[in-house]
Symmetry: C2
Subunit: 349 residues, 2 copies
DNA sequence: TTGAAAGCGGTACCAT
DNA sequence: ATGGTACCGCTTTCAA
């Protein structure tokens, strides 16, 4: 059933039927009622492609997810983020076009999206330090919002980010306040922008307390159990081992804990662990971590916010780039027991 | 730059230009060369929407992911599956439209997708036992492939699945062969079709060995650490505790291990654990599991296969429903130590 | 308040 | 081998 058929049945013009269905004010209420009824009866649904062609808007937003060929993990936080964004799109009648793209081909994917008009805007995921995609998208004229930020980009652009620097500043300060002086940082991949911000927050906290950051106590890598294990193991074997860790993901923390245990140390007594993770849903507030502090933010909400930001931009409600920094939530305690004593227990040597 | 403009520049008709660009044989090679060159020079890209309207194909595939409102977890295997499917789509010039949809609205989403012609086919994710979506999609006439199966559906339909029954049959038999008689099953949510198949495989292995399956040794739930912990804990506190567990996810297994340890038992000595997981990439072959057997299959490959299956169906290369069962891969050993002795160590009581 | 008709940017049939 | 033209299904001026 298409518009022409429906209008013929009703004995009205396509114009009127279209207007009635799209809520134009000049249609008589009685006519509108008839049209709506007929649309339901005959199960009429406007064809998306035709509408898109006529209006020039595709009513779809692109999400481009970099899938690294080296790092086999597709970050699950994308899933939550997108799920939040999806809600916003559904409410606004937009579709979501997903592009998983391996490292090299990214530019082309964006160009293609813009050139072929398959989407009205894009959300950029996983920005790297000094990400060149931002300049490219600005030039393409395709509206976009970055999930995260790209340090070093000279242009203005729209983004939504969690305050990673602040979260890690707080997590580190938290440990320092308990008396820790040697604190290891198990961080993400160094080229990712969020990892550099986290490191900055960590460093700031140390420096503020008069502690000189020590390169051996900072590890970068993919967020896996193995990375947590290997990094912690190495740090703990050092002449001056850390008494605490700030860990950038729950999964990593599991590895850290294993390393600690293998050395005959006890988590929460000999070594304290503070975890940051964008999403702890798998662990229901860190069930598996006997001693922990979780700094958490709602990824789903971030997705919804970013999507709405982009829809606003597309609607042209304003031209200036929009920025939004979400603060992370700090939770202290363990769901499996009493709140841990985070003070360094004794000096080992 | 659109087709009309390009053809005017070239002094050719739109028809010829279109044919040249789309590889029709009747175009003179010299003409084709000129056209291609001009297309590059003027950065011409055909508009997707217009093409879709003209051809009647949207060149997009829908993936509908059920996002349960109760269970806050979005299964990360979707991510890998979709990433594999994305490769297939990219190669075939298709887009991927993603719909994350909460329980209630599913029907409407499929109807909408079909009615508005936004996609040429869909992949159905997370089928439940006797899933009504299959009947609905058949009636809608929208080509679809199910990732998994729906027991109880009377119709023929296309699907791609991992042989869950067989994987759990093997995992269970494996433990039985080592002498275990009381084996706990930590399974997924009961209404999910894959969970019932897994349970069937587990039961078959037991029955074949003359062991009567015991309801207290079967736990269903969301695949979280908490579920693994709580279920294992309860089973181990029973008068007749299990000497081994078959666990349906790595995350669950972490909880199982915690439960075992809390009771002063030792994994690999007092209690054996066999894990099945669709994707172990987070753990790099189960780093964190000192004793394990992983039955693993490549989710990404499954996604690619399912996508190609659907594209075949759409291309009409055949009309009969296609089915494909992928066998899981069995790995025995631990990356963190020697292959474990899986025999039950001693009788506790 | 309603309708006629000109697009939107391609594809594909029918001529030549 | 190339061109003319009628669509595809909807939106949107302009006219009545």
């Amino acid at each position: 059933m298409n518009l022409r058929e429906l209008s013929e049945i009703l004995g009205l013009s396509q114009t009127t039927v279209s207007r009635a269905l799209n809520g134009y004010p000049e249609v008589a209420e009685e006519t509108r009622r008839r049209v709506r009824e007929a649309a339901t009866t005959y199960n009429y649904h406007p064809n998306n492609r035709a509408r898109s062609l006529a209006t020039g808007r595709s009513m779809s937003i692109g999400h481009v997810i970099p899938v690294s060929t080296q790092h086999e993990i597709v970050n699950p936080i994308f899933t939550d983020f997108i799920s939040g964004a999806g809600e916003a799109y559904a409410a606004a009648g937009y579709d979501l076009t997903l592009k998983m793209v391996s490292d090299g081909d990214e530019d082309e994917v964006y160009r293609d999206l813009a050139n072929r008009g398959s989407v009205d805007g894009v959300i950029v995921h996983g920005p790297r330090v000094d990400d060149r995609r931002i300049a490219m998208l600005s030039e393409l004229g395709l509206p976009f919002v970055v999930h995260g930020r790209a340090t070093g980009s000279t242009r203005e652009y729209s983004w939504l980010d969690v305050n990673n620097r602040r979260a890690f500043y707080r997590a580190t300060s938290f440990l320092i306040d308990f008396g820790h002086r040697r604190i290891g940082l198990i961080n993400g991949i160094e080229t990712m922008d969020f990892a550099t911000r986290r490191r900055t927050g960590y460093r700031e906290a140390l420096e503020e307390a008069g502690i000189v950051p020590c390169p051996e106590l900072i590890a970068h890598g993919e967020m896996t159990e193995r990375h947590g294990y290997a990094s912690a193991r190495q740090m703990l074997n050092d002449a001056m081992p850390p008494t605490a860790f700030v860990v950038a993901s729950v999964i990593c923390a599991i590895g850290v804990r294993r390393a600690v245990q293998e050395l005959g140390l006890i988590v929460g007594r000999d070594v304290s662990i503070v975890i940051y993770d964008d999403d702890l849903s798998y662990f229901k507030s860190g069930d598996d971590i006997p001693v922990f502090t979780a700094v958490r933010s709602s990824v789903r909400e971030a997705g919804r916010n970013a999507a709405n930001m982009l829809l606003d931009i597309i609607a042209g409600t304003g031209d200036a780039p929009r920025q939004r920094l979400m603060e992370a939530e700090l939770t202290v305690g363990s769901s499996t027991g009493p709140a841990p004593d985070l003070a360094p227990h004794r000096q080992r040597g």
